[in-house]
Each structure stands twice: as structure tokens, then as C-alpha cells.
């Protein structure tokens, strides 16, 4: 994870925007004159502050303050969302956010790393949710799933990126590097987070075909930064659609077809990709039986159907994200992204005159 001493550089406005909005399209930039047009579109998040049955204020992320007088209760948040064209709702009883701040105030320490910070925050949010003070719609993660401990997440971090090694994501828009993220771990934290400008400096001129260029990129990184633990190379549009797909085995298929190049491919990822085919079959069966409801992705039935695939993964790596976290983060992310408004990024935006 990044620390105060992490050097972060090499992102221009466009490449940073492209990277962030891949996983957080709700944060997409809009031109000032697009405000009114955006307000008429479906989407966005509705923040509701209420006291007993009265809504004190409802603020829509696209529309500003909206008229809503009566708090319909957490069970009717979906209707509230539909009435205001929102895809997400966050509601808080008056005083709940103060209580959240107080709990965080008493539990956080200045030396807490990002993992601890996230877990403490999620823990406090869950408490208030369980106490009926905070409400979220829709719900993706079963509230019975316990939060992982910091030790488990640190182990996951060790697993994904061992000390002294680098990882890179390089996304292309046709022949050009569209955006990139190059990280290097030193000790418990990342000491370098670099964007495409630095990557281009390191790599030099490229041919324009990522299926060939990945070797040059890997060699250059290993020469200047250190050993590469993981490299992902693809077209931005491919990753954009893969992150949103609910089709089981889509990632494995993309890797097999070289729409996504992983190089080097860690053993755990190779196993997971191989297992993807098995997972796909299992999930297709499950899909026929139960459909693809939001919470269905986390149902016990699905776990049983996945046992074979998990066994393959576990046998090789001893590590399984869903088993550790209690949910499949990629699947939950895909569900969120499918509900989110489009980021508005064009392959070629107009940052140049």
C-alpha cells in the first residue's frame, strides 16, 4: 500500500482520469456546461439525511438538492431511488455520521496503514448499519460475512506483490499507451507509483501492438525498476468490458485469446485462469438454476458448485480470494460498475486542441 513517502508521478489529467474511472466511473469528470444535461440522466447516488420519518435533506450527486419529504424506511429505498433516478442510495439518521466520526476518532491512529484504516472504517460503518442508523441500497455483500483481519489482508498483499518486486498494468488505445500503472514494493509499502509518462520514459518507443510490445515493456521495467511480479497488457476497452461482465470465465477466455496478455503470469493467476473454464461451467449451471441476482452470486449453492474450481486453485496456491474475503471482489465490482453511469470518457477525449 502507499505511504507518505511513496513517490507518485507520471500521470497527466487524461491518463489518471482513464485509470480511475475504469473502476470508479461515478468519479468521472464532466465539463461545466454538461451539468444540466447530466442532471436529466438516470444514475448517480442519492444521499439522504433523515430524522424519524422526515427527510431533512436529500442530495443527488448529479442534481444537487432534490425534493423528498418523507423517509420511507430502509425497506423502501429502492422506490426512493427510482423516484429520483438514482442507482445507489446512502441514508443516515440524524446524528449517525457524527457517531461514525466519533467511533473512528476513538479507534484510528495516525500510524495506521491504508489496510487498517479501511478495515476500521468498514467496521464502524457496519456497526452503524447493524444498529439501523445507516442504510445502503442496493446491498451486494451479505451482512453476515465477517470482515477480514488486517493480518489476512497483509498476507494477501504479500501474496500479490512480494517485497522488492514490481507490477504493471499497461492499457492501450489502438497503438498508443492510453494509461498505465507501475508500482514497486519496498518493505511494507509501495515506494513508487508511476503513470504512463514515466513508463514511456523507461520503455522508449514502442511498435504499437501490445501483444508484441509487452516483452519490451517487461524487459525495460526489470532493467530499471526491479523484477516484475505481474504485468497486464490489454486494450482499455477490453478491460472496461471485462470489469463489467457477469459472464463466467470471461477473464480466462480473454487471456486464452490473448485479448489480455499477462506477463509474467504468477502461478496463482495461472491456476485461477485455468480454473476459469471449470468455474464457467459451474456458474453457467448455477445461472440456469438460480439466475444472476445480486446476492445470488454469494449464495451457498454457488459455493458448492464452485468447489471443484476452488480445489484446483487451492491445490496450487493455498489461496482463494473468495474464501478469504467471504465474497468475490471482482464479481461485486462488476455488479457495481454495471449499475454505474458511464464514465463519459471517449477513447480520444479533447484535451488537445
Amino acid at each position: 500500500m502507499i505511504s507518505v513517502d511513496t513517490q507518485i508521478r507520471g500521470f497527466d489529467a487524461r491518463s489518471w482520469h482513464r485509470l480511475v474511472t475504469l473502476v470508479a466511473p461515478g468519479l468521472a469528470s464532466r465539463a461545466p456546461h454538461e451539468f444540466a444535461a447530466r442532471a436529466t440522466e438516470e444514475g448517480g447516488t442519492l444521499l439522504v439525511l433523515y430524522h424519524q420519518t422526515r427527510i431533512l435533506r436529500a442530495i443527488h450527486t448529479h442534481r444537487g438538492v432534490v425534493d423528498a419529504a418523507v423517509w420511507p424506511g430502509p425497506e423502501n429505498m429502492e422506490a426512493l431511488a427510482r423516484a429520483h433516478g438514482a442507482r445507489f442510495v446512502l441514508a443516515a439518521e440524524a446524528g449517525a455520521l457524527e457517531e461514525l466520526y466519533e467511533r473512528l476518532g476513538g479507534r484510528l491512529r495516525i500510524d495506521d496503514d491504508a489496510i487498517t484504516l479501511s478495515l476500521v472504517t468498514l467496521g464502524a460503518l457496519r456497526e452503524l448499519h447493524d444498529e439501523g442508523e445507516l442504510h445502503f441500497w442496493p446491498r451486494w455483500i451479505d451482512q453476515r460475512i465477517p470482515l477480514p483481519t488486517p493480518a489476512v489482508l497483509h498476507r494477501m498483499f504479500d501474496f500479490l506483490l512480494p517485497d522488492g518486486q514490481c507490477a504493471v498494468i499497461t492499457l492501450f488505445d489502438r497503438a498508443e499507451i492510453d494509461t498505465a500503472l507501475l508500482i514497486r514494493r519496498r518493505g511494507e509499502a509501495l515506494d513508487r507509483v508511476y503513470g504512463p509518462e514515466v513508463l514511456k520514459d523507461i520503455v522508449g518507443p514502442l511498435g504499437g501492438d501490445f501483444r508484441r510490445d509487452y516483452r519490451i515493456i517487461r524487459t525495460a521495467i526489470e532493467r530499471t525498476m526491479g523484477p516484475l511480479a505481474l504485468g497486464l497488457f490489454a486494450e482499455t476497452a477490453t478491460i472496461h468490458s471485462l470489469l463489467r461482465t457477469d459472464r463466467p470465465g470471461a477473464w480466462a477466455e480473454a487471456i486464452a485469446l490473448r485479448d489480455v496478455v499477462i506477463d509474467p503470469m504468477p502461478l496463482w493467476l495461472a491456476a485461477a485462469a485455468s480454473a476459469g473454464v471449470v468455474r464457467a461451467a459451474a456458474n453457467r449451471s448455477r445461472g440456469l438454476i438460480t439466475g444472476l441476482g445480486l446476492l445470488g452470486a454469494l449464495s451457498p449453492t454457488m459455493r458448492r458448485l464452485r468447489e471443484m474450481a476452488d480445489a484446483v486453485t487451492d491445490a496450487v496456491t493455498g489461496f482463494d480470494f473468495e474464501r478469504v474475503l467471504g465474497f468475490d471482489p471482482l464479481r461485486v465490482l462488476a455488479q457495481i460498475l454495471r449499475r454505474s453511469s458511464p464514465s463519459g470518457s471517449q477513447p480520444r477525449d479533447h484535451d488537445t486542441p
Partner: protein
């Protein structure tokens, strides 16, 4: 540190808001009893010693450079590249934690910390200089720019009701917000300001005076500013019991909280200014940074007649109207002392990403609305800033040419007397809205920057004065504003109504639509025809015998603009047919006025054929006379 009352030996009163006859008369009268206890006060400078207007000519168009994060060998390249783009000034934030070597020991000379070397580079490029002393000077530096030892000192930390630290994001961690009322923090902050001011003053004999010095935290919005949640530091409240947000219940305690909070902030900021002045900087070059939107800051309202204010322009996502409204409000608020705006190019790690073209578009809105002096944050930074104009190595990024075009365009923008309708939202409304917040503990300054008005954040039934609630006030202003914009009438929300009896300002009990009709009649000769209605925002300025209309598209449709009458030009070419206005773009129409004798007939409006009569029926406000460097 000596208390203010001991120093001045007199009772401090808040400056009263000028109120015109017939206007709302509720005005909080802050007495000595409302002030923080003497022991929690900082020394106040004399209220009789007003700073000179910090209005410079030509306007300051600065780019911020975080020089300690750049390789020193690249400084020349960076400054030259920014000068080449058209910036005429460089804005240097001094980051406390970077310059502090040991408690109270500061380094402004070594390596990349060499202020003199940087100032020499800027001067050698023929550029002007803006320097920020903070303490929180910029939001890309870790730890709010404050040294770790100060952040970790519990005596310096702001507290919640339960005496917990007030954590604010400082990715990837959180840090405790300092308490501006804490004696320990005040001591530390003043020590820093003194040292930084002295270091800067030492350079002035060699490199000339710094064109502008900015003190105070911000102007990026603080993420915790709820008056009821913070600050419960013992130095902030003494033995005062916490107060619950009153919503639309009795307001007295809430307003006392807001006034207490405001007094503390003003005292803190004035102590910082005094410290900088004592250590050699000229008071008339100092401006004060205000965190968040001025529309929701009573401190901004009370300081505006004494200091120039430094304010953030809302991000692009806030929309054209919000940016336009806030800049117009700020320009009106700071008429006597000037304003310096911070516009965006990229953002710190915790800011939502903004595309380069969108940040330039937001700056265009701000400039069209009347922003004159500004800093682009960031011109160049070596770390933790995404999307600066230049890369970390000083190479112009893809959107840099857009800044070049925008800077060139600013030369076409008029300065002069505003001809406008006014919607008055004075200090009492701001204080009432803050006291009656229903979005607590969400940050009011940030929500204001995102376009929410005081009335939208307060309980509907909050009384502003007998017979007038916050909801009725907001509804009236919003209705009038909508009607005026739909009719392309120049309009602005202002904090203080012009004392001119000829002002076109909405009376407190006036029907909004009737006012819109009255303003449209009164200003008819500076109202263009915009199709579709409401697609553009209009500003009218009179300048040395010319009248200019700045018309800004605020929708995604292409609009057409027809000037009000004959004799108008666009880029010196006569306008004979409707002009097309592309989405998000702006144009400036000009009307040359023939010199005429002033006729003494009254009641005739300003118009193409009666230029000299304009002041008889329209509101005109003068831009302060400019001072040559």
C-alpha cells in the same frame, strides 16, 4: 502570545453589514460577550488600519510550482515553459513540514529548499511572484503541510465532543486536524509564519517585493467544518457546553456557536497576518485564504472589507451556473480589497479526477464571470499531483495548449462597472444557514463549492427575521435567478447590496417574478437575445465609453446570441445577424459609445443610444482603481 483585549484595550465588535433602507434589518450584533474568552484570543490588528487594495495591474495569471518536489536542475525549464504558455506569475507555496529541520528551526536555503534560488529563477524569467505561507498552503503535501511532531501533539489537535481527534483524509492515511483555537498550535503556527515571512522579506531588497503573499489555510475546502462537531478543544470552548444542531428549533444558541467559530477563525487569520507584517512583509500585499465557498463563510464576509480574499473556484463537475454564481458572489464581496482565485489543473491524490479540457472549461467560466487574478493549481509538481500543466520534468502536457489559448483570451475580457441585477444574501443569512444546517456534519464549505446555496443546506423553517424563513428566502432568490437567467439578464447573488439608490436589487418583500420583470426593463439595453432561452449566462460591463457583454454558454446545445440593438461588434467586426455560440464557450460583444453630454432627464435607461444615462437606472459598481507595481 498576548490576548487581543489586553493588546488593544478595547472591545471588539464585528463589522456591521451595511443595510439599505427598506432591506432586511435583522443584523447580529456581536458584543464582547459573544467573543471567545480573552485567553483563547489571538492579538487582533487594529481595525482602523485597513490594508490597501491588493489589486495589481496587469492581472496576475499565476501557475503554482511546488519547487521542493522538483529537481533543481529543472527549475529553469519549468519556469520558462510556464512563461511560454502565457503565465505572468509563479505561485510558490511554502510547505512548513518541508522547511522545518527541528522544532522552531527552518531551512530556506539548502538544495531544493532554496527559496532565494527559486525567486531568482522566477525574476530572471521576468515573472511576478505569489508566495503562500499557509500554514496549510497546498493540498498535495502530506500531513496538511504540518510537521508530524505538531500533528501528533494532542495539545494542538482539534477535538470532537468526546474529545477524539478530528481525522481528515491525507491519503493513504488520516491525520488529525489542528485546532486553530489551541494555544499550542497557535504558537507553532505563528512561529512558522514568522520564519517564512522573515525569509521572504530578506529577499525583497535584492529581488523586489513579492507581488502577493497569501496566508491562511486553504483555499481547498476542509472536509470537517461543522460548527457543532468541532472544535471542542478546551482552548476553543472553555467551559461552554456542547450545543446540538437546532435545525428549525430555537436558533439563538446555534448562532452563538457560529459567531464564536467565526470570531476564532478571524482572530487566527489576523494573527497570522500580523505576524507576517511584523517580520517584514507589507500588509497591503497580503491576502487571506478562505477554505471552501465564501457563500457559506461568515469569516469571508467579515474579512472582505479588510483583506483581499483567496478563494477556490468550484471544480468542473459543479457546473457552469455554480461556478458563475460563486465567482460573481466573490467578486462582489471583495470589491474593495480584491480577490485571487484558485483554478484547477488536475488535483491531489484524494480529489476526483478531472480531465484537462474540463478544468480549462471551468477556468473559462470563472474568468467570464469576472475572476481577474488567479493561480492555476498546479503548474508543476514533482509528486502527488495528477494532471498539472507541466509534467514533473517540465514538459507541457497535452492540455497545456488549452491554457495558452485561455490565457490569450483573458486579454479580451473587460474590466469595469458591472451592470447587473442583484439578489441580496447578506451575512445574517449566511450565519443563519450555517447555524441551522441539516446536513451536519458534512462539510459546508465543500458543499458550497459544489454549488449548494446557504438556503439549500439549512432547515426550511429557520427564521431569518420575523416573517421570513430560510425556505421562503431561498425560494424567492431561486425563482428570481431562474427568471433572470431565462431572460438573459445579467444577475448575481451578492452579500451586500450596493449603497447606490439606483441599484437594481430585489427588495426583501418583492415578488421574484415582478423583480425579474423590473430588472429586465431597467437593463433592457444590455440584455441580448439568447436562443434557446437560458442557454447562456450574461455579464455586462461598462468600461471607458464601451459596453461589453460577456456571454457564456451553459448547456450542451449550440446557442444563438443576438445583441440588444445596433452597433455591437464581435472581435471588431459588426454583428449584423445572430451569433452562434458553441457549447461551453464564451464570446464578448462590444458596443462603442459615442461621447455625449449628460442629459439631465432621469429615468432613461442605459442603451446603445444613450450611453451616459446608464447609471440613472442601473446598478454600477466600480472596479477598484489599479495600482501599478
Amino acid at each position: 502570545m498576548r490576548p487581543c483585549c489586553e493588546r488593544s484595550g478595547r472591545t471588539h465588535r464585528s463589522p456591521r453589514v451595511p443595510i439599505c433602507p427598506g432591506e432586511m434589518t435583522h443584523q447580529p450584533d456581536v458584543t464582547a460577550n459573544d467573543m471567545p474568552s480573552p485567553t483563547s484570543c489571538l492579538p487582533l490588528s487594529s481595525r482602523n488600519t485597513l490594508a490597501s487594495p491588493a489589486v495589481l495591474s496587469p492581472p496576475l495569471h499565476a501557475a503554482m510550482v511546488r519547487f521542493p518536489t522538483l529537481e533543481r536542475a529543472r527549475w529553469n525549464t519549468v519556469i520558462a515553459a510556464l512563461a511560454d504558455l502565457g503565465f505572468n506569475a509563479i505561485d510558490l507555496p511554502l510547505v512548513w513540514r518541508e522547511h522545518e529541520r527541528a522544532p522552531g528551526v527552518f531551512d530556506f536555503t539548502e538544495g531544493v529548499l532554496s527559496l532565494e534560488a527559486m525567486v531568482a529563477t522566477v525574476r530572471a524569467a521576468g515573472l511576478r511572484l505569489v508566495v503562500r505561507l499557509g500554514p496549510m498552503a497546498t493540498d498535495d503535501a502530506p500531513g496538511l503541510c504540518i510537521p508530524e511532531r505538531v500533528l501528533r501533539d494532542r495539545a494542538c489537535q482539534a477535538r470532537t465532543r468526546r474529545q477524539n481527534p478530528v481525522w481528515v483524509p491525507d491519503p493513504p492515511r488520516v491525520v488529525p486536524l489542528p485546532s486553530i483555537a489551541s494555544h499550542a498550535y497557535q504558537h507553532e503556527a505563528l512561529q512558522w509564519i514568522s520564519a517564512a515571512a522573515a525569509a521572504l522579506a530578506r529577499l525583497e531588497p535584492t529581488y523586489g517585493p513579492v507581488d502577493r503573499v497569501i496566508v491562511g489555510d486553504g483555499p481547498h475546502a476542509l472536509l470537517r467544518d461543522d460548527p457543532y462537531e468541532i472544535d471542542h478543544h478546551p482552548d476553543a470552548r472553555g467551559t461552554l457546553a456542547p450545543v446540538d444542531p437546532p435545525h428549525d428549533g430555537p436558533q439563538e444558541q446555534g448562532r452563538n456557536e457560529v459567531q464564536r467559530e467565526t470570531n476564532q477563525r478571524i482572530a487566527y487569520l489576523e494573527a497570522l497576518v500580523d505576524s507576517a507584517v511584523r517580520h517584514g512583509l507589507s500588509r497591503d500585499r497580503i491576502m487571506v485564504a478562505i477554505a471552501g465557498a465564501a457563500t457559506l463563510s461568515p469569516a469571508a464576509h467579515r474579512l472582505a472589507d479588510k483583506y483581499g480574499l483567496v478563494l477556490a473556484v468550484p471544480p468542473p463537475v459543479a457546473g457552469s451556473l455554480a461556478i458563475w454564481r460563486l465567482v460573481r458572489h466573490a467578486v462582489a464581496l471583495t470589491e474593495s480589497r480584491g480577490a485571487h482565485f484558485d483554478v484547477w489543473s488536475g488535483g491531489a491524490l484524494h480529489c476526483p479526477p478531472a480531465r484537462g479540457s474540463h478544468t480549462v472549461a471551468a477556468a473559462r467560466v470563472a474568468l467570464a464571470a469576472g475572476a481577474r487574478d488567479f493561480t492555476v493549481r498546479m503548474g508543476c509538481a514533482g509528486n502527488r499531483w495528477m494532471g498539472a500543466v507541466l509534467s514533473e520534468t517540465g514538459i507541457p502536457r497535452p492540455h497545456a495548449p488549452l491554457w495558452r489559448e485561455l490565457l490569450a483570451w483573458t486579454k479580451t475580457l473587460p474590466e469595469g462597472e458591472e451592470l447587473t441585477a442583484e439578489l441580496v444574501e447578506h451575512l445574517a443569512v449566511v450565519e443563519a444557514a450555517r447555524a441551522a444546517t441539516v446536513v451536519h456534519p458534512l462539510p459546508l464549505g465543500l458543499l458550497g463549492l459544489l454549488g449548494l446555496t446557504p438556503g439549500q443546506l439549512a432547515a426550511h423553517n429557520t427564521p431569518i427575521e420575523p416573517g421570513l424563513t430560510m425556505a421562503a428566502h431561498e425560494s424567492a432568490l431561486a425563482s428570481a435567478e431562474r427568471a433572470l437567467i431565462a431572460a438573459a439578464v445579467p444577475v448575481r447573488r451578492v452579500a451586500v447590496r450596493s449603497p447606490s439608490r439606483r441599484a437594481v436589487a430585489m427588495a426583501p418583500d418583492e415578488d421574484p417574478l415582478a423583480f425579474a420583470a423590473r430588472a429586465a426593463r431597467s437593463l433592457r439595453n444590455v440584455i441580448p437575445t439568447v436562443q434557446p432561452p437560458g442557454a447562456a449566462l450574461v455579464r455586462a460591463v461598462r468600461q471607458r465609453g464601451r459596453v461589453h457583454l460577456v456571454v457564456l454558454s451553459q448547456t450542451t446545445e449550440t446557442a444563438t446570441v443576438s445583441p440588444p440593438g445596433h452597433g455591437w461588434t464581435l472581435k471588431d467586426s459588426p454583428v449584423t445577424e445572430p451569433v452562434s455560440l458553441d457549447p461551453g464557450m464564451a464570446l464578448v460583444l462590444t458596443h462603442e459609445q459615442p461621447r455625449r453630454r449628460v442629459r439631465k432627464t432621469s429615468g432613461q435607461d442605459y442603451g446603445a443610444s444613450s450611453a451616459e444615462h446608464s447609471t440613472s437606472s442601473t446598478h454600477t459598481t466600480k472596479t477598484p482603481r489599479r495600482k501599478r507595481q
